[in-house]
């Protein structure tokens, strides 16, 4: 008996909740039929429908204040749109003007440092320094040699920085792959090349490497390489693969 009453009460509550929208005429057809079927046998819902109607009429009777917009108000909105767009444009232009190769990562790094708790900043900086160092070592290693001989005594195979230059030259010369230091002047390079009887025959490659032919006669290649490598104008000096004997070249 109680179960039946609970069930009826639940139905009544669900219908009761829908009554404001029954009154404003927006219920689906199915819901409207449910409300009508239930209210036909429910006095409380019939009374509530009447209350909702009175509320609706009274609220509509309060009316609405709806002044026409003054032209100045629209101008204010348009001015704010202009301001916002101008600010956006300036920011974009600033970003473009201030764009530097390392600007963004550097700023991101500065923000990261600022956001890191003070005691951990040292550790973070040290970690970054190690990463930079390792990357440097990796790049240097790549530039120098890549492959070691699998068998002792076998010819060393050097990776070239450019495939454009032939390894061997006619006339007893040895081809070297060379890169010069960033700060090296034209005069320093010229003096150096004259000292080793070298001649630039190709380059620069996309990596900034030159092929330099030096006279092989009279000097062991190792002596020439030692001389070149000891010069501050030289960043890299390696025999081109196959152009020099393995021994004494490294």
């Amino acid at each position: 008996m109680h179960e039946r009453e609970d069930h009826d009460e639940r139905i009544h509550q669900r219908i009761w909740e829908l009554l404001p929208w029954y009154v404003n005429g927006t219920l689906s057809e199915a819901d409207r039929e449910r409300v009508e079927d239930h209210s036909a046998v429910c006095r409380r819902c019939r009374d509530e429908i009447e209350t909702c109607r009175q509320t609706s009429e009274a609220i509509q009777g309060l009316g609405e204040v709806a002044p026409s917009p003054h032209p100045v108000q629209l101008q204010r909105v348009l001015a704010r749109i202009d301001e916002a767009e101008q600010a956006e444009k300036s920011e974009w232009q600033e970003q473009r003007a201030g764009r530097r190769p390392f600007g963004l990562p550097l700023r991101a790094f500065q923000e990261l440092i600022a956001a890191t708790p003070r005691p951990l900043r040292g550790a973070l900086m040290a970690q970054v320094a190690i990463i930079v160092l390792l990357v440097g070592v990796l790049v240097w290693t790549e530039l120098r040699t890549v492959r070691s001989p699998a068998v002792p005594g076998a010819p060393v195979i050097y990776q070239t920085l450019s495939d454009s230059a032939p390894a061997q030259r006619p006339g007893g010369t040895v081809a070297l792959r060379m890169m010069f230091s960033r700060g090296a002047t034209e005069k320093e390079i010229r003096d150096l090349l004259l000292a080793v009887h070298g001649e630039i025959t190709a380059g620069p490659s996309p990596f900034g490497a030159y092929t330099v032919e030096v006279a092989a006669a009279g000097h062991p290649v190792s002596v020439v390489l030692t001389r070149l490598r000891s010069d501050s104008a030289v960043a890299l000096a390696e025999p081109v693969a196959g152009s020099a004997p393995a021994k004494g070249t490294r």
């Binding site: 829908l18 404003n24 219920l27 209350t51 609405e64 709806a66 002044p67 917009p69 909105v77 749109i81």
Partner: protein, 185 residues
């Protein structure tokens, strides 16, 4: 204007067409003004909120996905802007429990607020929370379905029904308390 035409207008606004924006502004200004005033009951925030809503329409029109009617989308923006403005101005009065506030003289909307507050029903509505009042006004004044109200206020349909349930109960309690048995002022 049919919703399809409003949709075209909104699409043009999304493409940063200022003429379309001005047309939309004129089309919605009065509706938004009345709606925001009904929600906030504060004459001094209405203009600011309406302007904020128009700016938001300009900025966010490209994100309008067309799943709802343009008016539902715009009224939704206005609802949230109005509630934010209320919270910003007077956080302590956001529950609407304080009495009618004093409003500035010589402004037509202020006079209207005073006139409405002078009625028993107006006072009772003023004492509802803004969330409850929004559901009551959207149902009885604007004649919207509960599903559309749910979209505007950004909550589940059951929450809309619950808010209306409590609003109805409070109105019933307040009106006899205010000394009347009917809604007539």
């Amino acid at each position: 204007m049919p919703p399809d035409d409003e949709l075209v207008l909104l699409r043009r606004v999304a493409a940063k067409d200022r003429k379309a924006f001005e047309a939309l502004y004129h089309l919605y200004y009065r509706r938004l003004f009345g709606y925001v005033l009904k929600l906030t009951r504060k004459a001094d925030v209405v203009e600011e909120v309406v302007n904020d809503v128009m700016l938001a329409i300009w900025s966010h029109a490209p994100g309008f996905d067309g799943r709802s009617r343009p008016s539902t989308w715009i009224f939704g923006i206005a609802y949230h802007k109005a509630l934010k403005a209320l919270a910003r101005r007077q956080p302590e009065s956001a529950n609407g429990r304080e009495g009618p506030e004093l409003v500035a003289e010589d402004e037509p909307e202020s006079l209207a607020v005073r006139r409405e507050l002078a009625t028993v029903l107006g006072t009772a509505l003023h004492r509802l929370s803004p969330e409850q009042r929004a559901v009551v006004e959207l149902t009885y004044f604007y004649g919207l379905a509960y599903t559309e109200i749910a979209e505007i206020v950004g909550c589940p349909v059951n929450t809309v029904k619950t808010r209306m349930f409590h609003a109805r109960r409070r109105l019933k309690e307040m009106l006899p308390e205010l000394g009347v048995s009917s809604y007539a002022g």
